[in-house]
């Protein structure tokens, strides 16, 4: 198979009609080029969307209370209620398989500048949170520290502010840690600055929030044991989407909400959303493969066609070879190898051009800055190997019919042709 003579012959045959060989090769190269570029585009979209989820614990359910829509146990319809701290423990006890439950209270920014530092001020969202929230949100500490359990226990008046707030209220080279900000009339010491993990475009607003110990918040702003909002993350390997029924049931029971009241508790199942997006990625790469392979098939048919013509042209030669005693299998192998060789070479050219195109797109993306929902289109080595595998199979298929035709040529028929 790897004898020098066979390769020499393959090269002789393919180079005997360069224009035809190149035109044929183009079909296959184009097919694999399309496949690679489509897959890369799909990957770019996937990367872009994945980045939105970056750092967020995706196996998470967010839950908040709304108004009841059904009367229950003597309580009227349209009742406003709030979760209580005891509900957190109740959920923890009743629903196994949960990793983190973070209760939260928050203060909106509807009532003028709620945060003041010296002469500067602004409207920002303020959260009362537990330290575990950092595992569920896509933030990281860029300076100082995040909240800890000691803050919770001692109800310390400390806050962690977003980098956006730092830019708003402080000078660029000013030391932030240890300074005080006044939030709705109460002074808090800044102990840390956080940043968004995925800071492309939309990050700005989410870097204008303030984290405060949950207990401090409750006491300072009279929330008693109310809880406005909860982020519940399931253990790895357990799906929050399967647990959310039990969680809702537990809370409804303890808050005296009608079990069939769908509107009393609002929730957002991040995991379900995430899975929906995941299946979208699957669909995108399926479409890429589907279209790419179809285009490739038309190229392969081209190769097959040309090989048939080549065989027709070489009928006499094949007849001579057989008269001289060449094994039919050797002829078949020769045709198959020509076909596979042509397919692979042109496919590799397609892959190379595809890679350059992707490289070019990346360069453009880099120079114009981040684009929403599209990031770093690329193909992995695995995809390239799959493409090569497809090429080998395609080459085999393309050569198969011509090769069989070639060994059916009878020497006498071939030699009769003048």
């Amino acid at each position: 198979m790897f004898s020098k003579d066979r390769w020499k012959e393959i090269m002789e045959v393919l180079s005997s009609n360069v224009l035809r060989t190149v035109a044929t090769a183009f079909g296959v190269g184009w097919g694999i080029f399309i496949l690679i570029v489509l897959l890369a585009a799909g990957k770019g979209l996937e990367n872009g969307i994945r980045q939105e989820f970056n750092g967020v614990a995706t196996n998470t359910l967010f839950m908040w209370s709304e108004k009841t829509s059904m009367a229950y146990q003597g309580l009227p319809e349209g009742r406003e209620f709030s979760f209580k701290l005891e509900d957190v423990d109740l959920i923890r006890r009743n629903v196994p398989g949960l990793r983190i439950i973070s209760p939260r209270n928050s203060m909106g920014r509807s009532d003028g500048d709620n945060v003041i530092r010296g002469t500067e001020g602004g409207q920002y969202r303020v959260f009362g949170d537990y330290p575990e929230i950092i595992e569920q949100n896509s933030i990281f500490i860029s300076k100082g520290r995040f909240l800890n359990h000691k803050d919770i226990k001692e109800k310390r008046k400390v806050v962690v502010i977003g980098n956006g707030i730092r830019n708003d209220l402080y000078d660029t080279d000013e030391e932030v840690i240890g300074t005080y900000v006044k939030i709705s009339g109460i002074n808090f010491m800044v102990v840390g600055i956080y940043k968004e993990k995925s800071s492309n475009g939309g990050g700005e607003d989410s870097e204008r929030q303030i984290y405060m110990p949950f207990t401090t918040f409750s006491q300072a702003y009279n929330r008693a044991d109310n809880v406005g909002w909860m982020a519940i993350t399931a253990e790895d390997g357990k799906s929050i989407s399967q647990l959310n029924k039990t969680i809702l049931k537990t809370v409804k029971e303890s808050r005296k909400v009608h079990p069939d009241d769908e509107r009393a508790i609002g929730y957002f199942d991040l995991y379900e959303q995430y899975n929906r997006v995941e299946s979208l990625f699957g669909a995108i790469s399926f479409i890429a493969y589907f279209v790419g392979v179809l285009v490739l098939i038309s190229g392969v048919i081209g190769v097959s066609n040309i090989m048939l013509i080549v065989i027709k042209e070489r009928t006499k030669e094949i007849g001579i070879r057989r008269a001289l005693g060449e094994n039919p299998w050797s002829i078949k192998l020769q045709i198959l190898m020509e076909s596979i060789f042509l397919t692979i070479i042109s496919g590799m050219v397609g892959i190379i051009f595809g890679s350059f195109t992707i490289y070019g797109i990346n360069a453009v993306l880099d120079s114009v800055g981040p684009v929403n929902m599209f990031l770093n289109p690329s193909v992995s080595l695995g995809v390239v190997l799959i493409a090569m595998g497809i090429l080998v199979i395609a080459g085999l298929l393309a050569g198969f019919i011509p090769a069989n035709k070639a060994i059916k040529i009878q020497p006498i028929e071939a030699l009769r042709i003048e």
């Binding site: 030669e317 008269a323 001289l324 005693g325 094994n327 030699l415």
Partner: protein
């Protein structure tokens, strides 16, 4: 293939001894080409036996037929049938390639036969750069390269002028002198008489089978 079958050969029985130079003569349609195809294992007889060097040639599959052709037979065609993108040397080496002889040795042996037909200097030329007589001599070298039991020549001089024809026949005679068995199909009387035995075919039967006094082609060259 039409539904009408045509019996071309209707009972042929002859034996060629080792070292013979036999001419098979007949006008067109006499069945000489069919006979040659059967002898060359390119075609199979409907009935009858064919024994070559003690081996019965029967019910061959393609792989086996190819092997026998390579080992037992050397073909010389009217239209030379050289492979036009290969040099003279590569053409001669081709049967040896099918025997899986290493490249180096192939080249040495092919060169030896090219030298024998007087074309050593033309070894690296393509067939298109050779004259008709030279092409046929390359074809003869190729037929001999595998050292077959029998050389089968189908109108070897059919496409050549008479001077070149005699040169080629001279070469064939010399090869025969070395002890090779050669069958020549021809319809030219003078060519036939340069052999040692003439089998006349007519309408698919042997009309006459005679030993003749060989006319040496060298006297015309």
């Amino acid at each position: 293939m039409g539904s009408n079958s045509l019996h071309v050969l209707k009972g042929i029985n002859f034996t060629a001894e080792a070292g013979e130079l036999v001419a098979i003569m007949g006008s067109s349609g006499s069945g000489k080409s069919t006979l040659l195809n059967i002898l060359g294992m390119l075609d199979e007889a409907d009935s009858g036996d064919y024994t070559l060097d003690g081996v019965p040639i029967k019910n061959l599959n393609e792989t086996k037929a190819a092997k026998y052709r390579n080992k037992f037979l050397g073909f010389i065609f009217q239209s030379f049938n050289l492979i036009n993108y290969k040099s003279a040397l590569e053409n001669v080496a081709l049967p040896l390639y099918y025997q899986k002889i290493p490249r180096k040795e192939r080249q040495v042996r092919a060169m030896k036969y090219l030298e024998q037909v007087g074309l050593k200097e033309w070894a690296h030329h393509l067939p298109s750069e050779l004259s008709g007589g030279q092409k046929q001599r390359v074809a003869i070298a190729r037929a001999m390269a595998a050292e077959p039991k029998v050389l089968l020549a189908d109108e070897p001089t059919g496409a050549l002028d008479s001077t070149t024809s005699y040169e080629v026949m001279d070469l064939i005679q010399k090869i025969n002198d070395q002890g090779n068995t050669i069958l020549v199909v021809t319809h030219e009387d003078d060519i036939a008489h340069m052999c040692k035995r003439i089998i006349h075919l007519k309408d698919g039967v042997i009309e006459k089978d005679e030993k003749v006094t060989q006319v040496r082609a060298s006297q015309y060259v």
